[in-house]
Structures are given as C-alpha cells and as structure tokens.
Symmetry: C2
Subunit: 215 residues, 2 copies
C-alpha cells in the first residue's frame, strides 16, 4: 500500500464500501464491475475508481473486482483484521445499547469494561461486564491494554475524563458527549454528535419545503 | 435570506456553530470576532466568514458578531424556531436513550409516540410515552401530524418500515438502522451509521501508528 496522505472524505466512504461488499459476499456474488457497484451504492463509477486508486486500485480494468478479496482488503485498511479492546464510560441507555450491539464484537471490537459514577449501577451486569465505579477506570485502562474508550457521559464530565484516559495510554476515543474534546493530536477522536445530526435533518426538511411550496 | 444552493458541508457545520454560540451566550458573552470564534472552534476565521456569507454574513466587518443574534439566526436556519413531532420506531436501548435525552425537547423536538413489535414492551412507559404495537404506527403518523421518524430497528426491517412511513406522509427519517434507505427524494434522510463511525476511528488509530512507529 502506498503511504501517501488519504483524505478523511475518502476514509469516511470506506466503511460504506465494506458494508455493501459484505452484503454482496453474503449473497454469494463473486465479482462486480465498478458500474454495478455504482448502481447499487448510488455513487458514480468514477468516484469508486478514484477512491480505490488511493489504495492501489484493487482490480483489473474491464474485468471487475473480486468481491471477497476487495471486502477483505478494505477490512484490513480499516484495521478490522486486528482486535481492539474497548471500555464504555457511562452505563446509561446509550452505553448499554452500544454494549449490547453484537455486530461490533463480530468485527473485532471487544468490550472489556463499563464504568459509571452512579452507585446504583455498580455491579449491574451488561453482556458479560459488570458496571464498575469511575475510580477504577484509570487502573483498568492500564492493566487491560485498552485501546478505545467510548464516552457516553454528559458533556460536563467528558473533558476531565478524556484527560485521564489520555494519561493512561488510550489511543482512540469514540465520543458521544455533546462537546468537542481537547486531546493531543496522537489521540484519535471520532465524534457522534447526535443533536447536530438531528438539526441537519430539520434544516433539510425545512429547506425542501421552502423550495417546493406546492408540496 | 438568499435562495441559492448551500452545500451539505456548510450545513454540517451549522449545528456546531450553534452549539458554540449557545455556550458563549450562556457565559454572558455578547460580542465575538471571527478570529476569537476561530480560536475556540479551531477552524480558520476565513472559513467562518465564508460559511456565514452563505446566509448574508450576519455581521459587520471589523466589528464582530452579536452572539445572541447570531445564535438565534442560525437556530432559525436550522428550523429550531419551529416544533417538530417525532416518533421512535424500535423501543430497545437506543430508542429509549434517544427518548430520554431532554435536550432534544428543549430544541423543539417533541417525541409523541414509540413503537415496537415485541409484545413484552407494549404499554411500557418511557418518558411520557407508552410503547405501542407496530400495527398502530401508520394510523398514528396520519392522525398526529408526525414530521420525523427515528428508526432504531434492525436493518432487516428498516426498508419496509420506511416505505410505510413515506406512504403516510412522513417528511424526514433519522435512520440508525445499518442500511441505506430507498425513499423518494422529497423525504429527507439523515443516517447515523454507528459501525461506520467506529471503523473510521480504528482506521485513524492504525494509520497513525503505521506513520509513527516510535510512539
């Protein structure tokens, strides 16, 4: 693989390719042209070829892509050929929803621990994890080789918790708290700001109605 | 407001401006320059001015922006000066987490009903809503002026449910199901594909480590 810088826009599209290829593979389809892939994914064939060219191309011109090979290569690029150890911080509904999502485990994301500062939740079992007090988090991260922390806590606590995580060697934070974190650039952060996403939806609804008053 | 086409990239940034301006407002700050806003938001001042120019500019050159005015104008652009009626389809952990998130209501998002096809959940109270059987969904959407449906159901059911929603006059779908929906273009869809987001995080973690082997 070439080592040039790949834009975050391309990276953002990789999981979607991975998802479609996984479905094609499950349907027993062995080979697909960029035009066929373009039709089902509703992106242009030229976009697909450009995206794949960032990683060396994957296919032969006029011959199509081998579905399983492409699925596995994209999986490797996404780091899914390795396992990752995760903890969830915040054992409310959202934290529990993520802990119970089986597909994450199938992709090598192993949930190792869950933390909360509500004593009523201590010891509660979610999947195979017991909810632990927040005070145990730092020790746990150090001792269990935790790569990724999932933050499902209110924004008021998120920055202080992120600092502790960074001090104890975390490599990535999947942040659901409604605040942008300030962490060193070697720590990767992926934000899921749910309110932002809902507001974008209402913008598009209202915009469409202003433009189409007859609807 | 001008009626020209505004890119989805600009739209995606609006909720973040709105969030920061809300915080500044809560701190009692009345006026802010694009440079100061640039410093706290970590985007360039030129990006901020360009984004705001899509909506007429909002401010006087060299004079800064009035925080409260700007907050309210961006809120209006996002459609937050109106209320929206929502239903949640899928009363599992994720659906419950969203129903319990108070901030949505503060922004005018009113959760009116919750549906599931698991009889064990029928009648269960979440916030002020009782979980109803899926069979009641279509009637409910028609009778209660529902704008937005939140899909927190498995991907196998999502497309069929989306079709029913469209037939009954829904205007937007906030889709957490791990599949892209096929709906007419007048129906707005905002996807939250959680696995995609987690994979993007692992890509960036692995990429960073390949580039910095000494870390």
């Amino acid at each position: 693989m070439e080592n040039k810088e790949i834009s975050q826009a391309v990276i953002s599209r990789l999981p979607r390719y991975f998802r479609y290829l996984g479905e094609l593979k499950d349907e027993g389809i062995e080979r697909i042209s960029s035009q066929e892939l373009s039709d089902i994914m509703k992106v242009t064939a030229s976009q697909i070829r450009q995206d794949f060219n960032n990683f060396g191309g994957f296919g032969q011109q006029g011959y199509g892509y081998k579905v399983e090979y492409l699925y596995e290569e994209i999986g490797k690029i996404l780091g899914l050929d390795k396992t990752h150890n995760l903890i969830i911080i915040g054992a409310g509904n959202l934290g529990q929803a993520l802990a119970n999502y089986m597909n994450f485990e199938r992709r090598g994301f192993l949930f190792k621990g869950m933390f909360d500062n509500n004593p009523a939740l201590y010891g509660k079992k979610i999947r195979d994890m017991q909810v632990r007090p927040m005070e145990e988090m730092e020790q746990f991260v150090k001792e269990n080789n935790i790569d990724i922390a999932v933050l499902t806590i209110p924004k008021t606590e998120a920055r202080a918790v992120a600092e502790k995580l960074v001090r104890n060697g975390i490599r990535g934070i999947w942040n659901f708290a409604h605040v942008d974190l300030n962490v060193p650039k070697e720590i990767q952060v992926e934000n899921v700001h749910l309110s932002d996403s809902l507001m974008k939806l209402t913008y598009n609804i209202n915009r469409f109605e202003q433009e189409s008053p007859g609807c």
